[in-house]
């Protein structure tokens, strides 16, 4: 089994250009990448324009006369990004139910009993009690937890956000609850993204400084085998799946991708 972390070390194998017939595995298709990009963009705008409300008074004095303008655009941007995020969320549900790739995603993402076993085994491996980590399917327990949190969080934020937007239709008590939940959920979501997701894509030793999977959607065969062993085996034993998930290296494979995944 290839050791991905070591790929960057001195004993790394020869340059990828030299290997012929190299294969890549599709983790995210075009639609999924587009959904992710729009969603992530909205998320950043929402976090910034949202937490701007919490800036201390003294800091805001720095903006002086521009403060009012800043406040107006903050509100506008927050609402545009929020609307877009809800639309992407709606499209994602459509994608899950009505597209073949979406249905595959949904089936692979459903929580199963073996996820608990995987989690236990993986934690034992982390604690150095087990020698080897478990083999994961397409989505491991980490992904499923994060995806579940994303669905729940987006739903809560969208609902409370819409209540705040249409505040006159509600009693002040409902608006107060919505404001409180919107704020607390925002803290939870931002911290979760910073600690869980950013670690996965930025700080895992072989991903640093940034995994470009979100742009290319591809990972190398070595990484596929290492990280998603169960899924790799499934693909190798099923020609139908091979058509979907395997991509031969061609001239069109982005150069940046090749550089990052020696």
């Amino acid at each position: 089994m290839a050791d991905n972390e070591l790929a960057l070390d001195a004993e790394a194998p020869a340059a990828p250009e030299a290997i012929s017939g190299e294969r890549y595995f599709v983790r995210l298709n075009y639609s999924e990448r587009a959904q992710h990009m729009i969603f992530a963009g909205c998320f950043f705008i929402l976090v910034i324009t949202g937490f701007m409300l919490k800036l201390p008074e003294g800091f805001l004095a720095f903006f002086g006369q521009a403060g009012e303008l800043l406040f107006r655009y903050r509100r506008l941007l927050h609402r545009i990004a929020g609307t877009l995020m809800i639309l992407v969320g709606g499209y994602h549900i459509y994608y899950l139910l009505c597209k073949a790739a979406g249905r595959r995603w949904l089936m692979d993402m459903l929580p199963r009993l073996e996820d608990l076993k995987d989690m236990r085994d993986n934690l034992l491996y982390y604690l150095n009690i087990k020698e080897e980590p478990p083999e994961f399917d397409r989505f491991c327990y980490k992904h499923k937890i994060e995806y579940g949190a994303l669905i729940a969080g987006t739903t809560i934020m969208a609902l409370t956000g819409l209540i705040l937007w249409t505040q006159y239709q509600w009693s002040k008590f409902v608006v107060d609850i919505a404001a409180l939940v919107h704020g607390m959920e925002a803290i939870l979501a931002s911290l979760a993204i910073m600690i869980w997701h950013f670690y996965e894509i930025h700080f895992r030793p072989h991903k640093f400084p940034l995994d470009n999977l979100w742009i290319t959607g591809l990972i190398s065969e070595a990484e596929m085998e290492e990280e998603y062993g169960r899924h790799y085996k499934k693909i190798m034993n099923d020609p139908e799946l091979q058509k979907i998930y395997i991509k031969e290296k061609s001239d069109r494979t982005p150069k940046s991708y090749v550089l990052n995944h020696k």
């Binding site: 972390e5 006159y168 002040k172 911290l191 979760a192 600690i195 895992r204």
Partner: protein, 388 residues
């Protein structure tokens, strides 16, 4: 005739100087101020002042130009400062804004005074009550000058934009007929003064919270500190310097109400009484309709976040107050806060607690998990390479 006290030589000397008034006043008179009383003879010197018996610095200097431009610029000193007839001024009394100041009020042709306002004010929450029925701790209550410190806060700005230009343009039109410049300007500022907010919202908050955030002072009157205002969206707008952001005045003295006549919430003529809330929140007919769509269930809800009173009623431990204050606050709290609101307070507190636990637990788990992942990755690196 100048009063002369023969027993006091100092006074005699001063009196002698005063006898020379006609000669000297020609020099002491400023261009802007008709100082017919010749007060500026002494009071024009910027160093004039003393430290009083409490060690407080008292400045007796008068900037004639600034005074002439102020709202009281047409008054003579003695109109307000009673008891200045002797020099040195030993009999001087504190200025009483209810004094009749010999200016004729043009609509009635009677002598003008602020007594009207003071009468209203005394009946408001901020009034001290009548002399035979004083409110407890009357010294805590603001007097005229506490709020009317007559600084130049926000001279030509506000709802009508950068109205320095507006001022120049419209005043020029007045001067077309009213040829006396000074008169026209005074009249113009007198009217337009009422069209402007003199203090920007942040200044209003500063003024009101100078008392209302003083926990002890408020407790003496059975009130809670209103720092909870700073948990509202209204405050965030003020924080950003939005010009017409909702400050204390916006809701407590909205359209059709007077600052001098602020009543407690329970009073049916108070703008924050439940029966008047829709109008207060929507501010229909005002320069700016704030929540034009406000309905009863939205408008009658809690505006400031829950504070000491709700905490007390919900049986929570609050900062130590003296027993008397505690009873006073509780007594008011029971009047002000309904059972429903206590329930709302409890629900909000519960949600907050649940989220704190959820955030703490989730983030701890995540941080621990990812840290372990990092350690295992490091461990793996150290192991000898085992190829595919």
């Amino acid at each position: 005739m100048v009063p002369v006290n023969l027993h006091r030589i100092r006074t005699l000397v001063l009196a002698a100087i005063l006898l020379l008034i006609p000669g000297i006043s020609a020099f002491s008179q400023s261009d802007t101020l008709a100082d017919t009383e010749n007060c500026l003879l002494c009071h024009r010197y910027p160093n004039m002042g003393r430290y009083d018996e409490f060690g407080k610095k008292r400045v007796y200097y008068l900037n004639a130009e600034k005074y002439a431009l102020s709202v009281h610029g047409k008054l003579m000193c003695k109109n307000c400062h009673i008891g200045l007839d002797t020099i040195p001024h030993t009999e001087v009394k504190k200025v009483d804004c209810a004094t009749k100041c010999h200016i004729k009020e043009p609509s009635t042709n009677l002598e003008f005074s602020h007594a009207n306002m003071i009468k209203k004010y005394e009946a408001s929450v901020h009034g001290r009550g009548t002399p035979d029925n004083l409110k407890p701790s009357p010294e805590d209550l603001p007097t005229c000058k506490y709020c009317h410190d007559n600084r130049m806060h926000n001279p030509f700005d506000g709802q009508w934009g950068l109205s320095r230009a507006l001022f120049t343009e419209t005043l020029a039109r007045c001067k077309g007929c009213h040829t006396k410049d000074r008169w026209a300007q005074n009249f113009y500022t007198h009217i337009t003064h009422r069209m402007r907010k003199r203090r920007p919202p942040a200044e209003i908050i500063k003024l009101c919270t100078s008392c209302h955030e003083d926990r002890d002072k408020m407790a003496r009157h059975g009130l809670e500190s209103i720092e909870t205002f700073k948990d509202t969206f209204h405050w965030i707008e003020i924080k950003y310097g939005v010009k017409n952001a909702p400050d204390c005045i916006s809701c407590h003295v909205p359209l059709g109400y007077a600052t001098h006549d602020i009543r407690p919430r329970s009073d049916p003529i108070s703008p924050i009484n439940d029966s008047n809330r829709i109008q207060t929140c929507s501010n229909q007919g005002g320069v700016q309709a704030c929540h034009p769509g406000a309905k009863a269930k939205f408008a009658t809800g809690r505006v400031h976040a829950y504070g000491t009173k709700a905490q007390m009623l919900a049986g929570r431990q609050v900062d130590e107050f003296e027993n008397l204050s505690r009873d006073l606050i509780l007594e008011r709290a029971e009047l002000d806060i309904s059972e429903d609101e206590i329930f709302h307070f409890r629900v909000l507190q519960f949600i907050k607690l649940m989220y704190k636990i959820l955030i703490g637990a989730t983030i701890m788990f995540m941080a621990l998990h990812q840290w372990l992942d990092f350690l295992s990755a490091k461990r793996k690196r150290k192991k000898p390479h085992h190829g595919r």
